[in-house]
């Protein structure tokens, strides 16, 4: 028995090594003094300084963060409604179409989503004059659209396996449905909403393809700037940027894990 666990542990070890060796490489090389990416010539923070002074990257990062915050919030609102409808409304007219519209963006190749949204924006601009130009607004709408699906799935699965006796008790005691939702359902699915928001935020922050299609001149998101820099070759500055992102994300997830543990303990997990 213990031998079998050992073999499973080996699989895990190899898998984690595969996942983390490239990331470790990014972090180590970001402290390399040399401009040649793979020749170690001493420890240095110079690429972090260069990153800090790279206005193009910083501006793009700020733009991406702004888009991601708005897109994640929009996607959480719409995705919560979609997830709620799928989990709670039973069979309604158009459920098949609705379910397909909610699930399909999860797997839809990005080039299709990006191209089709761009063509929609162009057609709308021609026929109703909006959006007058493509940029932050169109990218945000595009991100809300594909991130909604992820939030909906998270909310739906949380609602699917939760105990409804509390809601039913409140209804039996005469609370109105919207009050039940606000006072009982919403707090119970709050962790799902938080992770849905974070997921949508990350997806938006990370998206290159859809943003490239739907953006316009003057609105280059961080992935668009990174991509054009990558085409010219690797620079240690990008390693420094990757390290900053990795550290921020790890800390964020650590906090989320702790908070999640606290939250699930409070609910009585």
């Amino acid at each position: 028995m213990s031998r079998r666990l050992g073999r499973l542990g080996l699989f895990l070890g190899v898998g984690y090594a595969f996942l983390y060796i490239p990331i470790a490489l990014l972090v180590v090389l970001s402290f390399n003094d040399s401009r040649l990416i793979t020749v170690w010539s001493g420890f240095s923070f110079r690429w972090y300084v260069a990153l800090w002074n790279n206005e193009r990257l910083i501006d793009a990062a700020l733009l991406s963060l702004r888009i991601a915050a708005v897109a994640a919030t929009g996607a959480t609102v719409i995705g919560m409604a979609a997830g709620f409808a799928l989990a709670r409304f039973g069979a309604f007219r158009g459920r098949g179409l609705f379910g397909a519209m909610v699930a399909a963006p999860l797997v839809m190749p990005e080039v299709i989503t990006g191209l089709s949204l761009l063509l929609l924006f162009v057609a709308l601009a021609e026929s109703v004059g909006w959006p007058a130009e493509r940029g932050v607004t169109t990218v945000t709408i595009a991100h809300i659209t594909f991130a909604t699906a992820y939030v909906a799935v998270v909310v739906q699965s949380r609602l699917a396996d939760f105990d409804r006796s509390l809601e039913e008790a409140a209804l039996d005691l005469g609370a109105r449905p919207w009050k039940v939702f606000l006072l009982i359902t919403l707090p119970l699915i709050a962790p799902a909403l938080a992770s849905g928001w974070l997921l949508a935020f990350t997806l938006s922050l990370d998206d290159l393809v859809i943003a490239s299609f739907t953006s316009g001149p003057g609105a280059s998101t961080l992935p668009m700037v990174i991509f054009s820099a990558l085409r010219l070759g690797l620079t240690p500055e990008l390693f420094a940027l990757a390290t900053v992102i990795i550290v921020v994300v790890s800390l964020g997830l650590l906090v989320a894990l702790k908070l999640g543990r606290v939250a699930s303990a409070r609910v009585g997990g």
């Binding site: 490489l25 979609a82 397909a100 080039v111 191209l115 699917a160 990757a242």
Partner: protein, 295 residues
């Protein structure tokens, strides 16, 4: 007793329905329309389907030329076939690596599972592009792997690793692995260990119990995981562009080139329409499995 929201219900449904209808469903109709129109110089670079002739008659000009080119030009056909093959092989590779991992996590002590799962997902939360970039640093001619091989004296010249099929598969498997592990873990962790004990009591060896009990019961997870890797990978652009060689002309890359370099919007739309037709069945299957899993 069921929770009912008589007035709110319509509103709750209308918001996502209208949003996704306008920004997800309607665009496909426009793509189909533009796939049937002629290319033109101008902004936007395509001719309208409905046109007034000089005599004042409204006519529809359908151009099937793009679709005809797609099905007759071997360049495009090969790009589609190559994309399907690469995506299928990547799906199988992810399954081979992901299944043992998901199985091991599901068998780990309960208090450790969250952490182990988190470790699988963590890379997914960091930038996708920068993770692809890490593979360039690993596999380039002057990259870490080649430096290691040269340093150990195993090779006398750098081995071509970057811009090969190896780099392409490494990149895809690396980026999509979490999408395989998560649904597998979800089904494997729900599996009742009593079933395996029963199989053992009836004399089945562990390996046989796995093949006849665990594997069939985890099939929904396998299908969901495979689809989550396969479908997006068919249209993948970034990984073939940055890691694959010039021969890795996958359909996402071809579409990108038609759109951004050749500015041939109708051709790009035709490529998207055919890609979508190829993927309709897998997507419907995925949705079916997904819907069953959620209920």
């Amino acid at each position: 007793m069921r929770l009912r929201l008589p007035s709110g219900r319509t509103l709750v449904l209308a918001l996502p329905f209208l949003w996704l209808g306008l920004f997800f469903l309607a665009p496909f109709l426009i793509v189909a329309k533009i796939a049937l129109s002629e290319g033109a110089l101008g902004i936007p670079p395509y001719a309208p389907l409905l046109r007034w002739t000089d005599e004042g008659v409204l006519t529809i000009v359908l151009n099937l030329g793009n679709l005809a080119t797609l099905v007759s030009d071997s360049f495009y056909i090969e790009a589609y076939l190559r994309s399907l093959r690469v995506a299928a092989i990547s799906g199988v590779l992810c399954l081979l690596i992901g299944y043992p991992m998901a199985y091991a996590i599901a068998r780990a002590p309960e208090h450790r599972r969250n952490l182990l799962l988190m470790l699988v997902v963590l890379p997914f939360w960091t930038s996708f592009l920068l993770r692809v970039m890490a593979w360039i640093g690993l596999l380039a001619d002057n990259g870490v792997v080649n430096n290691l091989l040269l340093g150990l004296g195993l090779v006398s010249q750098p081995v071509a690793l970057l811009y090969t099929d190896f780099a392409l598969y490494a990149g895809i498997v690396y980026c999509y692995l979490p999408f395989m592990v998560l649904p597998l873990y979800a089904t494997l962790s729900k599996l009742d260990p009593v079933l395996l004990e029963a199989a053992a009591d009836l004399g089945a060896r562990p390996w046989r119990a796995f093949l006849t009990v665990t594997l069939p019961l985890s099939l929904p997870g396998i299908i969901a995981g495979f689809m989550l890797v396969f479908i997006p990978a068919v249209g993948e652009f970034v990984i073939p562009e940055l890691l694959g060689g010039p021969g890795a002309q996958l359909i996402g890359r071809v579409l990108w080139t038609e759109f951004f370099q050749n500015r041939d919007w109708p051709m790009a739309s035709a490529l998207a329409v055919v890609l979508l037709l190829l993927l309709v069945l897998p997507i419907a299957w995925f949705q079916h499995v997904q819907g069953k899993g959620a209920r």
